[in-house]
């Protein structure tokens, strides 16, 4: 599953996932916009447009039967109730391979 969240919620999400026993997580600093759009920043009288809002992208692989729990945990940890809390989407991974050992499928998750 992939989630786009506010930077300051990443630690909470990480904690929540650890509590669930999910040990792997990939994060990337990203910029983008959704309904939040950008906003105008004023610094020392000079206005400039922030077109893309800084967010963090989280990617995590989990077995099917744990997916719902992980979704709930991420949503709960990332929510502030304000605009720009982000999105989460779940996709099916066709194949997963642990590169070091060559293990495949659920063993590799």
């Amino acid at each position: 599953m992939t989630a786009i969240v506010k930077p300051h919620r990443v630690d909470e999400v990480k904690e929540a996932l650890r509590d669930l026993g999910v040990n792997g997580l990939t994060t990337t600093d990203v910029e983008g916009f959704g309904r939040q759009r950008g906003h105008t920043e004023v610094y020392r009288g000079a206005e400039y447009q922030v077109d893309f809002v800084p967010k963090v992208k989280l990617e995590v692989l989990v077995p099917d039967d744990e997916a719902q729990g992980v979704v709930d945990a991420i949503v709960k940890a990332a929510r502030t109730g304000k605009i720009g809390d982000g999105k989460l989407w779940v996709t099916e991974a066709e194949q997963v391979i642990r590169i070091r050992t060559g293990e495949m499928g659920p063993d590799a998750v």
């Binding site: 300051h8 600093d29 004023v42 610094y43 020392r44 000079a46 809002v53 800084p54 304000k82 605009i83």
Partner: protein, 827 residues
């Protein structure tokens, strides 16, 4: 025994002996001795093999490169040169095959060339690497005279133009530095080709072969010998651990190699850091000596005939370095030799002159950093700044840092001087910040010292603040420069950490940051330092992503100052207030008080006396149920007035409910302050008085609680009851006009609505119900009564927590409030 069998026999013996040698010592103890022993084994085998093959006259076998120098590492290539007189090339090729095939078959990496002495000279002219590897030519077997001729002709190429040879070696060193990086500070250094690594040692050796030993001083020779032994051990260990011919020392192998070499964990320095620190020290002095030796040779300076003239004292030496920095030049080789000849006390006492020269270097940008580097290599920097010793050559183990602590500091200084000189005008955030700082020397000192606390133990920021204070005092820096630099060291992580890890829409957070920083100039100083620090860390530390977050934080804090919401005085007042609250709540558990301080809005602390806060605490602190409304009344400051505290889970319309209930109970609101905690609890503080009777007894408070409860349960219409109450009292005498203003510049977090009107029963209820109807959430409200006129200020946000910026919606708010207050039947 046939020739082939005999040769194969020698190869097998060689392999056994080499393996035995590798096993004889731990992987960390194969230094130059081991390398020489390996070369000796190869010599014996090759000589025996050569005897079995019986080469014809006019053919000589020689060792080249590392093997030629008797520095054969566990997995080094075996580099051979067959020197021949050119009369029987086919026969020579056949000999080479008979000699080399068995070695190749046994898995040796053998490189070979076949040349006449004339060809040797020709290729030495053409290629520097061929020339230098043949400078290490050593006869193994066959025609000794021929090998000697070849070696002499190759050496002749180098000695014919010593200065040209020096230039070629210098250029090669520069190219290597660019390609393989600088081994003196990169955390994964290249042991062979990086700047300061083994190739630099060899370059000095080749230079000596061409120019004579006088080009290197004894102390330099000794330092290079020690470095060569060290690099050889590390490189051999790396090859033995990985079984690969690799020269880059990766982070993950450093612990194993450190332990194999006998490094152990020490206080403030774990084993692998000890290894890397030794590595950096050797590489740094190697690079430095190689540069100076080559520079001397290129300039034609000969040590014995041009002895260095010492400076009068250390201040004169520093002045010379400062002047060179200001001229944008690297210190000259002669200057450095003179400094080395100058007696230096330890530690150096700073004079006004010392400080002046030092600051001139700091202001001089890259050239100043070259001067600092020179002082570092000459051992001066540590004598000037004793604290520098703890960060010198110290590796850093985190995913962002690429350099040692001290190199990171001098790079941050260089970037800071670029910023001050306006070389980075593309970044308006930073360029604007530079303009706001008047004390540039403070900026430079702050950049130079910001990580001085990275000494391997404890939190580097608090330690750094102490060390920086001591260091600045030792240097004799005073006044604003000292204050600013100390502050920068103590707070250099505040902006980057807050920007990337905290919620920038949290007003408390922004106010706290503003209070902690204290002034726009200091905010600007931290902004500039954040950039200089990031640039000096590595390419991934200053990205558009980080810059955007930093700009947002800095902008929000700056606007707090611009509006006067926080300044030195208010910051002091806030800190004092919170301290007083902590003292008044000393009997409560620490973490509960901490939590209380964190969740209450800063405006609450600034507007409420500590003893009142202590009285509020038991009402506010316990968790509030979603339908719970807590009230507490106490006598007010003026006679006949009462303070009414109401605490409830915040929801749209809550303020209007409370205001309505107060009016229905026959109480008049003189002032009101409505706050919202960061976890969504409304804390409303009213100053009320009875409309008719002065005394308000417990019965009335009970009535108030009853009205509130009924309202929540939907058993009572406040609008109806307030109208009824209003009918019982005379209409207000004043006909002050209604004013409504909506402002979006006053706050970053909320739209500010200011309403002025004649006082009357239920005024706050009326306005607050309009706001509730428009789905606006009141974050903060202030009600003040001036004689018969009331000014109400509301900080509101929409249901998604945003300001109201849509002009239509703003107009609607204004119109709706006016309409409600102008309704004739409500007079």
């Amino acid at each position: 025994m046939t020739e082939a069998a005999s040769v194969a026999d020698h190869v097998a013996t060689l392999r056994e002996e080499l393996d035995a040698l590798d096993r004889a010592y731990s992987s960390g103890h194969h230094g130059l001795w081991s390398a020489a022993r390996r070369a000796e084994m190869l010599d014996t085998a090759l000589i025996s093999m050569s005897e079995a093959i019986e080469p014809p006259p006019g053919v000589g076998l020689a060792a080249l490169g590392g093997y030629g120098r008797r520095q054969q590492l566990p997995l080094s290539d075996v580099d051979l040169l067959v020197v021949h007189d050119g009369s029987r090339p086919d026969e020579v090729a056949d000999i080479i095959e008979r000699l080399l095939y068995p070695l190749w078959d046994a898995g040796f990496e053998v490189g070979h060339a076949m040349r006449t002495p004339a060809e040797c000279e020709l290729i030495a002219h053409e290629r520097l690497d061929a020339l230098t590897s043949m400078l290490d030519l050593r006869r193994l077997a066959g025609d000794g005279e021929l090998v000697r001729t070849a070696a002499d002709r190759v050496l002749g190429v180098a000695t014919a133009d010593v200065r040209g040879f020096a230039r070629a070696l210098r250029e090669d060193a520069e190219t290597r530095g660019e390609r393989y990086g600088v081994s003196a500070y990169l955390l994964e250094p290249d042991l062979k080709s990086g700047a300061g690594a083994l190739r630099d040692v060899h370059a000095v050796r080749w230079m000596t072969a061409a120019a004579g030993p006088a080009v290197v001083r004894t102390a330099e020779r000794e330092a290079l010998d020690a470095a060569e032994e060290f690099f050889t051990r590390v490189r051999s260990a790396l090859q033995l651990e990985t079984r690969r011919r690799t020269d880059r020392l990766p982070l993950e192998l450093q612990p194993a190699i450190a332990r194999a070499m006998g490094f152990i964990d020490e206080p403030g320095l774990i084993a692998e850091d000890g290894l890397m620190r030794a590595m950096f020290e050797h590489a740094r002095s190697t690079q430095w000596i190689a540069q100076n030796v080559l520079a001397r040779a290129e300039a034609g300076v000969s040590m014995p005939t041009d002895p260095p003239v010492p400076f009068r004292d250390i201040d004169e030496a520093l002045e010379t370095l400062a002047a060179a920095s200001e001229a944008g030049m690297r210190p000259e080789a002669q200057t450095l030799d003179s400094i080395e000849a100058t007696p230096v006390p330890e530690p150096i006492e700073w004079t006004a002159g010392t400080l002046q020269s030092f600051m001139r270097m700091l202001r001089a940008g890259e050239a100043g950093v070259h001067a600092l580097d020179a002082m570092d290599r000459l051992g001066l920097l540590v004598r000037l700044l004793p604290a520098w010793g703890a960060v010198r050559c110290r590796p850093q183990r985190d995913p962002y840092h690429r350099f040692t602590v001290d190199t990171h500091l001098t790079m941050a200084l260089a970037e800071m001087s670029h910023l001050i000189r306006g070389d980075r005008s593309d970044d308006d955030l930073v360029a604007g910040a530079v303009e706001r700082v008047t004390d540039r020397d403070g900026l430079l000192l702050g950049a130079l010292l910001h990580d001085i606390g990275k000494i391997g133990e404890g939190g580097h920021v608090p330690i750094g603040a102490q060390v920086a204070d001591r260091t600045l005092a030792h240097m004799g820096v005073t006044g604003s420069s000292r204050d600013l630099a100390s502050f920068m060291v103590a707070e250099h992580l505040l902006l980057p950490d807050t920007a990337t890890r905290r919620d920038l829409t949290d007003e408390n957070l922004i106010l706290d940051v503003a209070a902690r920083i204290g002034s726009p100039e200091r905010l600007a100083a931290l902004t500039v330092l954040a950039r200089a620090d990031a640039i000096a860390t590595g390419p991934s530390a200053w990205t558009a992503w980080r810059r955007t977050l930093l700009a947002e934080l800095v902008g929000r804090v700056q606007r707090v100052y611009d509006r006067g919401d926080m300044g030195e005085e208010l910051a002091h007042q806030l800190t004092t207030r919170i301290e007083a609250v902590r003292a008044a709540l000393a009997r409560e558990p620490d973490d509960a008080v901490e939590r209380f301080v964190l969740r209450m809005p800063r405006g609450y602390f600034l507007s409420t006396e500590p003893d009142r806060i202590a009285r509020h605490h038991p009402v506010i602190a316990p968790e509030v149920g979603s339908a719970e409304v807590r009230t507490a009344a106490s006598p007010g400051e003026r006679e006949g007035t009462y303070e009414l505290l109401v605490v409830a889970a915040d929801r749209p319309g809550l303020l209007s409910s409370i205001a309505g209930a107060v009016a229905v109970t026959g109480l008049s609101i003189l002032t009101a302050q409505a706050f919202t905690t960061d976890d969504g609890v409304a804390v409303d503080v009213f100053e009320v008085e009875g409309v008719f009777e002065r005394e308000v007894g417990e019965e009335r408070w009970r009535e108030l609680r009853g009205v509130l409860r009924k309202e929540i349960e939907g058993r009572l219409s406040l609008a109806h009851r307030v109208a009824e109450k209003r009918a019982q009292y005379p209409a207000p005498r004043s006909s002050a006009p209604v004013t409504v203003g909506v402002d979006n510049d006053d706050s970053d977090y909320a739209t500010v609505i200011e309403v002025g009107a004649a006082d009357r029963i239920g005024l706050l209820f009326d306005i607050a119900s309009v706001l509730a109807e428009l789905m606006l959430d009141v974050q903060l409200a202030k009600v003040a009564t001036y004689a018969d006129r009331v000014i109400d200020v509301f900080y509101v946000r929409d249901a998604l927590g945003r300001k109201v910026t849509d002009p239509d919606q703003v107009a609607e708010i204004e119109a709706a409030i006016r309409a409600r207050l102008d309704e004739p039947d409500r007079h």
